[in-house]
């Protein structure tokens, strides 16, 4: 799909769905031309041919035509439905994150981007990714709404305070691509940009090892959970524990006090840390204090990543496949191994347990 590089004034196609967006664009350009030419031509011909021959002379007595009206109601309707369908299909591809792939955490902040790979590397205003791999971004913001916009990848998503939003892409060729904040965020909005560097896998591995530092989000979350925040005093310890059980929690259906159920997705876990009283699990006392304001967005990301790692087979977590308690050894094998682990097929019953539509941003079904 490299046929469109000659088109002037046209951004590069650098993701797997870029050609789909461009095809849709060309289809719409074609539709526009197909409507514009006859209308403009008709206006010109009528303007020439029926130009007043006599000042204040009257035109012909024509009132209308049912046949014509029906025709030019139905044809635009059919055409617009094809546009709707094309748009919906492409949209579905853009906004259905694949089950496997590498996760990068993104925190927006006036006016910079803070990113962290699941192997622990941190970046500011830059994102390094390997070519040909699914990259899933889990994004939130410390302050106002931002938008992670990648024109060469033909995708973007708003980042909303107080919740997670997601974006995914698979880059198709190495290069340096624009990253723009595309939702107005105040004073230095136009300076809140950066670059995405797409690299061959071996270059990416070299980059990773050159930058290896710190803990992975899961390790950091485990540390917070067990030592710094003391979550483990209630949420670990077996049958006697006071807090709800977290093992196997991710993407399961939780029954709440006072009726109702909710699917325990990322946003649920996050909300339970920030506003524990809002969704109390059936059978437990509302004794958990709020951690709002006590943990940073990065720490929240880490905690959510850790809680997810307690569920075997949970996607997007590098070290979780198959082991309830992540061992540091799983990470030393490097990113490639981590990714290979997370490519383990999802459990067969996941599609059933996930109520479709409960949260729009979670992968509702396991097909991709």
């Amino acid at each position: 799909m490299e046929t469109t590089n000659w088109v002037p004034l046209f951004p590069e196609q650098a993701s797997t769905f870029a050609w789909q967006v461009d095809s849709l664009y060309f289809y719409l350009v074609a539709v526009s031309i197909a409507f514009t030419i006859p209308i403009v031509l008709a206006i010109f011909i009528f303007a020439m041919k029926y130009r007043a021959k006599e000042k204040y002379g009257s035109g012909a007595e024509i009132h209308g035509s049912m046949v014509l009206e029906t025709t030019w109601s139905i044809i635009p309707f059919i055409v617009s439905m094809t546009i709707f369908l094309g748009g919906a299909i492409v949209f579905f591809n853009q906004y259905t994150p694949p089950e496997n792939g590498m996760t990068v955490y993104v925190v927006g902040k006036q006016w910079m981007w803070k990113l962290q790979h699941e192997t622990g590397q941190r970046e500011i205003n830059e994102l390094h990714v390997p070519v040909g791999r699914n990259i899933k971004l889990i994004m939130t913001t410390e302050d106002v709404i931002h938008d992670f916009g990648l024109p060469e990848f033909r995708t973007k998503a708003d980042i909303v305070p107080g919740r997670y939003t997601y974006l995914w892409f698979q880059a198709t060729k190495p290069g340096k691509y624009h990253l723009f904040c595309q939702e107005y965020c105040g004073l230095n909005h136009s300076g809140m940009g950066g670059w995405v560097y797409v690299m061959e896998q071996k270059d990416f591995d070299a980059w990773l090892s050159g930058n290896a530092s710190g803990q992975t989000p899961v390790e950091m979350g485990k540390d917070l959970f067990e030592n710094k925040l003391g979550c483990a005093s209630c949420h670990a310890g077996g049958p006697q524990q006071r807090g709800a059980k977290l093992e196997g929690l991710y993407m399961s259906t939780v029954h709440l006090t006072g009726g109702g159920t909710v699917v325990a997705d990322d946003n649920y876990i996050r909300n339970s840390i920030e506003n524990p009283a809002s969704q109390v699990v059936e059978g437990y006392q509302p004794i958990m204090p709020t951690f709002k304001g006590q943990v940073t967005e990065e720490q929240l990301n880490a905690l959510v990543a850790y809680v997810k790692s307690l569920t075997p087979g949970a996607p997007t977590s590098s070290s979780s496949a198959g082991s309830a308690a992540p061992s540091p050894a799983a990470n030393t094998a490097g990113a490639a191994a981590g990714a290979a682990n997370s490519m383990a097929p999802p459990k067969a019953d996941r599609g059933k347990r996930t109520a479709p539509g409960s949260n729009p941003n979670t992968p509702a079904n396991s097909n991709r």
């Binding site: 967006v21 664009y25 209308g64 617009s80 492409v90 106002v144 060469e152 909005h189």
Partner: protein
């Protein structure tokens, strides 16, 4: 009015009547306390023109800043305020009142054969509300302005912006009541004040357009008013409504905001479509093609316009399933707009087309609205919108609809009814030059922005990557042509007030009711209440106007 004045005002066929609505009383109080819809319309005309000039100055500043990639003319903070104020002034204080409050106010009673609007005092109240709101918005501008964008997205507007959000928000809240009262007044007037014989299907399409828009004003405006009040309350009292840090929901704001602001787009374009229906039909001197279809397409746009607000939220975290529903409905609303386009084109078929200035503006509208409407399909298509939203493609699209649509229609309407409003004719030559400059300048300004948008240039950027500069230079060059084209009417309209030749009652020999009274009309519009016996846009014998005899007289006059 006594008998002597009555005779003076019936000089049918030529000359300015000695007594008319403009000179019936001349004191300042007679203007400020008037209940005459025509005088109120003139005061609106002056007021919206002031706001248009302010908004236009901001637009010029924006284009100058964007001439170079760096933010060198303005600091980014100033630039943010400038584009915000440009949007607020243009949308809330110019575009929304422009056609309804000026042309609608002046013409609806005359077109339906009434003496005035049904609620003349309410009409005056709505003008005063508009003035108070406008003064408050200008005060907010003087003390420091706002930098939230005209969309006031939360939590930026409620928690993070240190600018005068409360003042401007409350100004827009107050201004909403002006819209609501105007809409209410139009609905009541059109229902109850039609002259004998003026059935619903004899109403000019201009009136149908205003009926549709009034419904939207009455049903939609309260939502934006209360939403901006909530923003102000959250800022004052820190009540958690929209800011998640204190328990609110920022997406809720977007739903509430666009629930009004998308229909507001139709508030801004439906009256323009009404004007263009008049222009195309009257200057082709032919019945409009598919009258009922144009009339009902206005109503359909007004109704469906309320169901598509979610297409502004495709990438904002709204459920993809909701996105699909809104995309579908957006595609549906394209159909009535297409119907109008086709009917206007068909109206010209076998017409007797006169290319006077208003018709040039009307044709300009068709060209620009065609592009504006079609590019709306690009943005309504989900997968494509993900790439295009928040880029210059959106900026170009809505300027094609708002400026290419509403402003061009407004200018066309002003040129068309200027002789009726003032009794004077402007320079036809300069009118045509202005219409051409606006069309060319507009396309040069905004077409390059479609290309910029597809390349990914984000909107609301004070500084941009250098590869976008060439197209931005085109755009700024076009803006200067557009600016000149739009300033010219100010000069020749003012000139015509003193030195323009007298227009006569019916300068173009047209059949509409407004052309059957004097120019300018007397205070009560018609000396004898009209009885309507003809179909709309009737150029044949049925019009009761003896157009044939008029034409002969016109030819004799031309021969002399």
């Amino acid at each position: 009015m006594n008998a002597q004045e009555a005779t003076a005002a019936t000089s049918y066929g030529g000359g300015i009547p000695r007594i008319n609505y403009l000179n019936a009383k001349t004191t300042l109080a007679s203007w400020l306390l008037t209940k005459d819809h025509k005088r109120i319309a003139i005061m609106y005309l002056i007021s919206v023109s002031v706001f248009f000039l302010i908004g236009g100055t901001f637009a010029a500043t924006i284009r100058l800043e964007l001439l170079t990639p760096a933010s060198d003319l303005l600091e980014t903070g100033t630039y943010n305020k400038v584009f915000t104020e440009h949007g607020i002034m243009m949308i809330f204080f110019f575009l929304i009142p422009s056609i309804p409050a000026v042309l609608g106010n002046f013409l609806i009673p005359i077109m339906i054969g009434a003496k005035d609007l049904a609620l003349p005092r309410i009409n005056l109240v709505s003008l005063y509300i508009y003035w108070i709101a406008g003064a408050l918005a200008l005060y907010g501008l003087m003390v420091g302005g706002v930098d939230t964008g005209w969309t006031f997205y939360t939590p930026y507007s409620t928690t993070f912006s240190n600018t005068y959000v409360e003042i401007v928000g409350i100004a827009i809240f107050i201004n909403g009541f002006s819209s609501i009262l105007t809409g209410l007044n139009f609905i009541v007037t059109i229902h109850t004040m039609r002259a004998p014989g003026m059935t619903w299907f004899r109403l000019p399409l201009f009136v149908w357009g205003h009926y549709a828009v009034s419904l939207v004003m009455v049903l939609g405006t309260p939502v934006i008013a209360i939403t901006l009040l909530l923003v102000a309350i959250e800022r004052f009292a820190r009540v958690g409504i929209f800011d998640p840090a204190i328990g609110g929901d920022p997406i809720l704001f977007q739903h509430l905001f666009w629930f009004y602001s998308h229909p507001a787009v139709y508030i801004m374009v439906l009256p323009g479509m009404g004007v263009v229906s008049e222009l195309i039909s009257n200057f082709s001197r032919k019945k409009i093609f598919g009258y009922e279809f144009i009339a009902f397409s206005s109503i359909a746009i007004a109704v469906f316009g309320f169901l598509v607000w979610g297409h502004h939220l495709f990438v904002s975290g709204q459920s993809p399933y909701a996105g699909m529903v809104f995309s579908f409905l957006t595609m549906v609303v394209a159909v009535p707009s297409a119907i109008k386009m086709f009917n206007w084109t068909a109206t010209m078929y076998k017409g007797s087309i006169h290319f006077d200035t208003p018709m040039l503006y009307g044709l300009g509208f068709m060209g620009l609205f065609l592009i504006g409407g079609l590019t709306g399909l690009f943005l309504g298509a989900l997968g494509l919108d993900v790439h295009l939203t928040d880029t210059y493609f959106v900026v170009a699209h809505f300027h094609y609809v708002m400026v290419g649509g509403q402003v061009v229609a407004y200018l066309g309407g002003l040129h068309y009814w200027w002789p009726k409003m003032t009794g004077r004719m402007y320079s036809e030559f300069w009118g045509k030059v202005s219409a051409m400059l606006v069309f060319v300048g507009f396309n040069l300004t905004f077409f390059p922005q479609f290309l910029l948008g597809y390349q990914g240039m984000p909107r609301r950027y004070a500084a941009y990557p250098p590869e976008f500069q060439v197209l931005n230079i085109f755009s700024t060059a076009g803006a200067s042509v557009l600016g000149i084209g739009m300033l010219m009417p100010v000069i020749y309209f003012l000139h015509s007030l003193w030195w323009g030749k007298e227009a006569g009652d019916n300068p173009w020999l047209l059949p509409g009711l407004e052309w059957r009274t004097s120019s300018p009309p007397p205070t009560e519009n018609f000396l004898t209440p009209p009885i309507v016996t003809w179909e709309p846009y009737e150029f044949g014998e049925g019009s009761g106007l003896e157009l044939e005899a008029e034409r002969r007289r016109e030819a004799e006059r031309a021969a002399v």
